[in-house]
């Protein structure tokens, strides 16, 4: 746990807890007593089964909901201040594209609200689309793209606002294995190039091990941080590493770190 309880870092959580009321009016603890400190440029995964509150934690960081206990700091600011200053980009599980906008215009959407000139927006969007390999599709509409391509647009859009931090909520869980592997490589490539801090939510152990520097393992009922696993695979990561013994060892370590039964 050392290093995660420190107070300095890009994202710092201190004793974060979220309690909500269910339909019967009973208090339900979604997450409790979460402490973590994420360094600048780190790739961190929040890993856990459904119901462990990993998405809730991510939404708290993004100021899409408020923690009922504890303190959260994003770049030394409250999540709300960070949000208003466009400090982070958020990638949802669904691509959340706008049907009536072309691919390029979708990427431009957040830039329109940041008062950039039309030329700046256009250049930025085209650069981002080039980065995710979709330049040829910039004038297409989202419905004309496959699920994997739509998610690429989503990622291009999140990177487009030049955020310091990228918050990703199971962005690849709806994609097939082939598409997913391709996007893993692309994400790591872009991440290395842009040097962002990434907080990545997933329920896929292999995915977490392949992508992350460190994995925060969350256990459910109530959602709590049960372990932090350092992933010491060398960078840049390659798909062959997934076959290596060390990779499988790490997967095993992560699996065994869940409290209250194994993770299946």
């Amino acid at each position: 746990m050392e290093g995660l309880t420190s107070t300095s870092g890009e994202i710092v959580a201190r004793e974060i807890g979220v309690t909500f009321q269910d339909n019967a009016g009973r208090d339900v603890q979604a997450i409790t007593n979460i402490n973590m400190a994420i360094k600048k440029g780190e790739f961190i995964s929040l890993l856990g089964p459904s119901g462990c509150g990993k998405t809730t934690l991510l939404r708290c960081v993004a100021d899409l909901q408020e923690p009922t206990e504890g303190e959260l700091w994003v770049e030394g600011m409250t999540p709300k201040e960070a949000r208003l200053q466009h400090k982070f980009g958020f990638v949802f599980q669904q691509p959340v594209l706008f049907d009536w906008r072309t691919v390029k215009k979708n990427v431009e959407l957040p830039l329109e609200m940041m008062y950039q000139t039309k030329k700046q927006r256009g250049d930025r969007a085209e650069k981002m689309l080039e980065l995710v390999g979709l330049s040829a599709f910039k004038d297409h509409y989202p419905r004309q793209l496959s699920g994997g391509m739509q998610q690429r647009v989503n990622i291009a859009r999140a990177f487009g606002i030049k955020p310091d931090i990228l918050l990703m909520d199971e962005p690849f869980s709806a994609l097939d294995e082939f598409t997913k592997e391709k996007l893993h490589e692309d994400l790591l490539r872009i991440w290395r190039k842009t040097n962002k801090t990434v907080l990545f939510v997933t329920h896929n152990i292999q995915e977490a091990v392949f992508l992350s520097d460190r994995i925060c393992v969350l256990s459910p009922h109530p959602g709590r941080l049960s372990a932090i696993v350092d992933v010491d695979l060398p960078r840049p990561r390659t798909l062959e590493m997934k076959e290596s013994e060390h990779f499988n060892e790490l997967v095993k370590i992560v699996k065994n770190s869940f409290e209250g039964g194994s993770f299946s």
Binding site: F88, P110, E112, G133, M149, F178
Partner: protein, 302 residues
């Protein structure tokens, strides 16, 4: 043989032709049956050729005008007002939906009572409106507006509500102001729903205006229609109006559909692209595009 039939059945023009012929056949069969009963067949179901004959004959039926002239003159008054009322109702409907989206309080206050307007039969509402406005032209307009208003308001509101939570969250992460939420998300997403409302409203506005006409003898379509029914003029004028208003109702919906296609992003562009297939520039552009995709982006296109 079998595959030719299957191919035909898939063609839109064939489907249209087929059903038109079926309808004509059914109508003529009915007309022949009615004719055999000898009970005023022209009132119940005349032959189509009789109606067409009435439409194109130069015979004067009223005030020195032929049947077609009578119908067209009457429809100018009725449909003109119906159209204006429809526009006003649609505008008001959209604005009310907007207000209801803007404020939950307004929605709770207004929405349940909106339905009441819809529940009052036009026949009950029309004399009251006529008494209030005192003028058949204004009544047509108001009734058309009232009837258009409801489907447009409810459909548009449904459109606003169809915006997913993810989109709100996404816009929140961009620190989007409420104005931008409306301009960039809510309004564009509500447009198809708005058009659905318009398509429902347009034929209703036409029907309602004709109905209002029957209340006062001022030369609207409905007025002529009831006169013809009472044999004050040729019964075929009645049939002309029936067919004419049916066509206007259907055409109004089709017209709105076209306008919708025009404003839907991408549709016109795609259509132009399709039309230019075979033409030099179009074919060249398309072929080239495909090659380019393959060459430039070999592995990343998933």
């Amino acid at each position: 043989m079998k595959s030719t039939l299957q191919w035909l059945a898939r063609q839109t023009w064939f489907q249209v032709l087929f059903w038109t012929l079926v309808l004509i056949g059914a109508w003529e069969a009915g007309a022949t049956l009615v004719e055999m009963t000898k009970r005023m067949p022209a009132n119940i179901m005349p032959h189509l050729y009789q109606i067409l004959q009435a439409a194109f004959s130069g015979q004067e039926v009223s005030g020195g005008m032929t049947a077609t002239q009578v119908v067209l003159k009457a429809s100018a008054a009725t449909l003109g007002r119906a159209f204006l009322g429809f526009l006003l109702g649609a505008l008001a409907g959209y604005m009310l939906a907007f207000l209801m989206k803007l404020s939950g309080v307004i929605e709770k206050m207004i929405f349940p009572y909106l339905m009441l307007i819809q529940l009052i039969p036009v026949l009950g509402l029309a004399p009251i409106i006529l008494a209030i406005t005192g003028n058949i032209n204004s009544s047509r307009l108001v009734i058309a507006a009232i009837l258009s208003f409801y489907p447009v308001a409810t459909n548009t509101l449904a459109g606003f509500k169809s915006v997913e939570k993810d989109k709100y969250d996404l816009m929140a992460t961009y620190a989007a102001k409420k104005r931008n939420m409306f301009l960039k998300v809510l309004i564009p997403q509500s447009i198809p729903y708005f058009f659905t409302g318009l398509k429902v409203a347009a034929p209703m506005a036409v029907t309602a205006s004709i109905l209002v006409d029957t209340l006062q003898g001022d030369g609207g379509l409905g007025c002529i229609l009831s006169q013809a029914l009472k044999h004050a003029m040729s019964i075929y004028v009645f049939w002309l109006i029936v067919f004419f208003s049916a066509f206007v109702g259907i055409f109004s919906s089709i017209l709105i559909h076209w306008v919708e296609l025009l404003v839907t992003p991408g549709v016109v562009v795609n259509l132009l692209r399709k039309l230019s297939i075979g033409k030099e520039a179009g074919a060249y552009g398309r072929k080239n595009e495909k090659v380019q995709k393959k060459k430039k982006y070999p592995s990343s296109v998933v």
